[in-house]
Amino acid sequence: MSCISPQETYCEEIFVDGVEVLTEKQYWAKEPKYKGMIPLNLLRRMSKSVRMGVGTGMPLIKKYNDIDGIIIGSANGSIKKSISFLNQIVEYDEGTLTPTDFVQSTSNSIAGTLALLGKIRGYNNTHVNNGIAFESAVLDALLLFEEGEAKRLLLGGVEEISQANYNVDVLRGMFKKEDVDSTNLLFSGTQGTVSGEGASMFIVDSEKSVDSFAKIVDVNQVCFPSKEEVVERAIAFLENNNLSPDDIDGLFLGYNGDNRTDFYYDFLQNQLFQDKALFVFKNLVADFYTVSSFAMWLVASLFNGKNLPKETILRNTNKKINRVLIYNHYEGTQHGFILMERP
């Protein structure tokens, strides 16, 4: 797996210098030097999301053989290029348009570029359904495995900040008006959150191997539920996997510091997981549509023997974490559950 985020995560030894405190209202991804990794004549045309997607995906493609397909979750894709392309249509009165912005303006340009560079000619799909785009990508992968259509897939979630979209989202109250640094974000008690971006990629196999260090057991999603319905859905989801809340060791919650919608997390953990370890992640990378892919990367890192930074631990039970439920929602509308365990 591989991760580019607003923290130093594109390395083997993660968080050795702790977590960086972020003070801006947008948490920008720390991109690596792509020179040498991506041919320069391709790199200069890539949007940020494609760069991050290729930067995280290609090392995995080079390392692992026999990848049957690529599944990406990216609600906005190369949104900056899309907006640039649309603006050009207006600015130049529907005249001649530059091909680069057009090529990069589709959401599936990340998966497409990875397929071309990695010569992976099999299944290629991009899920764009906003706050559950990554959960849908996970579901897609699980279904392919279940049907025996694939044995190994590249699975990922990618999102870039677009200034144009950010400005619109500010106007509709999505983001905080006041300055809040990342240490105080989650419990700021005010409206709105901060905007983030990043890319997390995983090689997922249908069968356990000696290299496996985490298992994605199941995924579930629901739209526009009440907090009671979220609890009901969590119970049903666990029951469907022959589990109860008591079987969960750790809960990864998508608190984002927005006092209008964080009650979902409070209610779920108070109803079902009062004595369980609690983890958070948006104080590291802020909020974006496919942020649950970062949560999955954190869980997989934990299962792979890495120590998670203290900033992610909301409640420690000093018990080994063998099974985790990730629960995240976007603006209180789209809610996703991902169940993971040690293999």
Partner: protein, 90 residues
């Protein structure tokens, strides 16, 4: 405008339109081929379309004949000559 100043402006526009990384205007030689194995920029067919868009937007010149386009985009000198000969404003 002197051809020298036009060439300088054109080189900056080429770098901007093609998003050439780590390339300065001085790195573009006036008589070095922009395309092909002899050129050191590694430009390809998508870049040629970008350059045609540049000529249309910045200088009001529309090239529809591929043969003419190939000649005009040969190097900086050829592009400059074409602009000086055909553009109303540059």
């Amino acid at each position: 405008m002197e051809n020298k100043a036009l060439k300088e402006k054109l080189k900056k526009q080429i770098i901007e339109y093609l998003n050439l990384i780590d390339v300065e205007p001085d790195d573009l030689q006036d008589d070095s081929p922009l395309f092909g194995p002899e050129g050191d920029l590694g430009l390809d067919s998508i870049d040629s379309v970008e350059l045609l868009v540049l000529l249309e937007r910045e200088y009001g010149l529309k090239i529809t004949d591929p043969k003419e386009g190939r000649k005009v985009l040969e190097d900086i000198n050829a592009m400059t000559d074409y602009i000086v000969t055909n553009a109303e404003n540059y």
